[in-house]
């Protein structure tokens, strides 16, 4: 089970310049707010894809749900 810090670090490592705030009540359901310059010019769907593909294969498994809010900086 990943910790909130682990999820945060993985997002920030995968998306250059990203800042993530991650919360989890149970290390299965996560909610993340991600701001990144890399999101500029992308639609919300594309922004979410960038984050979700980091956890490809884990979503629905060890990560039950990842609630996302993204913002271009």
């Amino acid at each position: 089970m990943p910790s909130a810090d682990e999820v945060k670090n993985r997002i920030e490592a995968a998306i250059p310049g990203a800042e993530a705030e991650v919360q989890t009540p149970d290390e299965v359901h996560f909610s993340a707010r991600v701001r990144a310059g890399a999101f500029g010019g992308l639609s919300r769907v594309q922004q979410h894809r960038l984050v979700m593909e980091i956890f490809d294969g884990e979503l629905g498994g060890s990560i039950h749900a990842l609630e996302l809010k993204t913002e271009a900086t």
Partner: protein, 132 residues
């Protein structure tokens, strides 16, 4: 039915319906809190929408996700394009963008905050599997 046939049917449904929601369960009996919330938002905007339950055959979800390049359910499409899942739809609902995008006026009695689902009340697995 082959995987390709399922995929073609999904593509056709997305093309044929201006607003279409792929969800777990049905609008009357959602089987997941996120699907329930998304249905609630569409209903409070009085938007007519088509709904497809992905639960009866796991291949529906598989083919949908490979078509849309989106891993989770629900998925809301408008004019053939993926608007997003529950989080994006919620954000759009609360900013008024969802009504604008779907070309409706926000009804006066629509709640400003997205109607919250109650995932704890979602139907248990036994009931999900009963669907069709």
């Amino acid at each position: 039915m082959s995987d390709t046939q399922i995929r073609d049917l999904i593509a056709e449904a997305i093309k044929d319906n201006d607003v279409i929601l792929f969800m777990k369960g049905t609008p009357d009996q959602p089987a997941c809190g996120f699907s329930m919330r998304t249905v609630g938002m569409l209903q409070s905007l009085d938007v007519p929408f088509a709904a497809v339950d992905v639960l009866p055959d796991p291949r529906i979800r598989q083919e949908l996700s490979s078509l849309s390049n989106w891993p989770t359910i629900p998925q809301l499409f408008h004019n053939g394009e993926l608007l997003g899942g529950c989080d994006i739809v919620t954000e759009m609902y609360e900013s008024g963008e969802l009504a604008t995008t779907l070309g409706v006026e926000t009804p006066a009695d629509a709640p400003a905050e997205a109607p919250t689902g109650h995932p704890a009340q979602a139907a248990p697995m036994g009931i999900e599997n009963r669907l069709r």
